[in-house]
């Protein structure tokens, strides 16, 4: 987990981003075909952030991804079939049919905290994990993500302030994707860069290109190292674009098409692959094979999830309380 990327790591990142994109596309297609249950979210455009940040963490570190971070779940070891099954409300889904779409995808054996709708409740939860590590003097850190919209909330600020005053080993990645649902940045806040909010609390802050997975990896690895050295929390603002609607039913007609086209040209998955091809790290042929592998993996996961049984209605009351 150094901050420079070895060739193998570069290929890893390409694999995880492509897997993420493939799964994301497949889920969108399923829902459009009426094979889904309820709604769902696409993280298209967020792959570099989700994968790069997840990849930069140590195995013992804790992460609390949000609803655009499919790639983070994958790179941290959550099996795609469990994710798809969750979205279909199946018994084998991460939440056994209890929570919806990308909510609740928590698994302590993977050091992943589940997502909760009330934004950004994952922030203080991840901070609490970081405070627990500090309390027990363990060399672990906790990382979470937050949207531009959520960076306006009080809880965002309360969390950063508490993290700073406790000098907790905590990293926050802001996924600034220009919109909170239909609301553009200019109607949400009067500042240019969300990173200035780090200064309001004495938190280390920086801005990165959220479509460049290497930049995400480097920034998060450095922040994690600082946190592990006891130098306190960091906030990393990753600029990107939400490439589809807020959720599956949303056509996002309110987003100017030129803006989308501009960001499409900077697609994080494609641009990373192109770069690796350019560097000679991967051939076009190997790349096609990688794509095919990802498609196969996703197809198998979907097949398994679709075949799996729904939960038994008699279990509805089980698990409210921990034993």
């Amino acid at each position: 987990m150094t901050e420079a990327l070895e060739p193998a790591a570069k290929l890893d990142l390409a694999y995880w981003m492509r897997l993420t994109r493939t799964l994301d596309d497949a889920i969108v297609a399923m829902w459009k075909q009426g094979r889904g249950v309820g709604g769902t979210f696409s993280g298209k455009g967020h792959e570099a952030i989700a994968v790069g940040a997840g990849y930069a963490l140590g195995e013992d570190d804790v992460v609390a991804p949000m609803h655009r971070d499919l790639g983070c779940y994958l790179v941290r070891g959550m099996a795609p079939e469990r994710i798809v099954a969750n979205q279909l409300g199946k018994a084998m889904g991460v939440t056994s049919g209890r929570d919806a779409n990308l909510h609740g995808l928590g698994d302590l054996s993977l050091n992943i905290l589940g997502f909760v709708s009330h934004l950004p409740q994952s922030m203080p939860a991840a901070l609490g994990a970081a405070m627990a590590f500090q309390y027990r003097d363990e060399p672990r850190i906790a990382l979470t993500f937050v949207g531009d919209g959520s960076s306006n909330t009080g809880l965002f600020h309360e969390t950063l302030n508490l993290a700073a005053v406790q000098k907790a080993p905590f990293v926050v990645v802001v996924e600034n994707n220009q919109y909170a649902y239909s609301t553009p940045l200019g109607q949400q806040m009067a500042i240019e860069d969300i990173v200035v909010r780090a200064d309001a609390h004495g938190v280390h802050g920086e801005i990165i290109d959220g479509n460049d997975v290497a930049a995400v990896y480097r920034a998060v690895a450095a922040a994690a190292a600082r946190a592990r050295r006891g130098e306190g929390p960091s906030l990393i603002e990753a600029k990107t674009m939400r490439m589809l609607g807020h959720a599956i039913h949303d056509g996002a007609e309110y987003v100017p098409r030129e803006l989308l086209a501009e960001w499409e040209a900077r697609d994080p998955v494609v641009s990373w692959e192109t770069k690796l091809v350019g560097e000679g790290l991967i051939s076009e042929e190997m790349l096609s094979r990688l794509h095919a592998e990802c498609r196969e993996e996703v197809e198998m996961a979907i097949e398994q999830a679709e075949k799996a049984p729904l939960p038994d209605p008699d279990t509805v009351g089980a698990g409210v309380y921990a034993p």
Binding site: V37, K90, A100, G149, Y181, T183, Y254, P311, T315, V316
Partner: protein, 327 residues
Amino acid sequence: MTERQLTYLDAIAEGLMVEMERDPDVLVIGNDVGGSFGGAFKVTKRVAEKFGDRRVRNMPMTELGFVGAANGMALMGLRPVIEVQFADFISTAFDSIVQYAATTHYRWGAAVPWVVRAPSDGGIRSGPFHSQNPEAWFVHTPGLKVVAPATPADAKGLLIAAIRDNNPVIYFESKPLYRSLKGPVSEGDAAVPIGVAAVALSGDDLTIVSYGSTVHDSLQAATELAREGIMVEIVDLRSLKPLDMDTVLTSVEKTGRALVVHAANRMTGVGAEVASRIGEEGFGFLDAPVRRLGGLDVPVPFSPPLEDAYRVGPADIVAAARDLMQW
């Protein structure tokens, strides 16, 4: 003359527009309510098109702050109608509602005339955070008013009344009814008074007290029960605070049997208040215990078989009614 029919959703929008037309102090705030978008459920779409950005305002996703700001607007005489995107997110604005808005008139005599519109209720596979029915928190809190329309006419009429009311009113609209339910709605001013229940169906054998979407489950159950000769009277509370116990007790006096039904969690729900008041004030009328049906004491689950097991449905109502008729 056939009466004009509107969906529940269009009736809400119409109520809002009637008041905005009439009173320049009425404005709409909330997440994504304005611009060309018009809200997560499009309730304010035509409203935003008609009244523009000054009167239909997008807020940052900061419910505590913007409901808190609505308190100040209302103190200055504006009448903000606040949309929380889902009723589930009303908890994020909790202090601004239960501590500030609810207490201000009692404490220093200033009116806080706002309405929070809260799209509530489930049955549509939205999971634990987009299916809640949190009205009991607010019915328990002194100083608020709480309404929950079950029909398009009441959706329009209670919204008009809520906007005109000089107090903070929480208006729980039922998402599953938005487009599935149509009904007659009068044009123009058609306010429905807050605090008055309606008899949705007359019958002599058993009183079902309900509100919101479960009124329709009750109507469905009543049809089935009628086939068995059990004639149900359905009282649709419409207002949860203040509660119209007179209408409830009049019905129970006639029938001698009561079943209280709501979609919200049963434990310490509004049904507990209604049932214990029937027990206290209508003790002499009762031929059978007052039964309650409501959501299980469980977060609302997502998966269809689980959510169906969680929710009250017509079959549960039929079974409970049959059971009560055995007494």
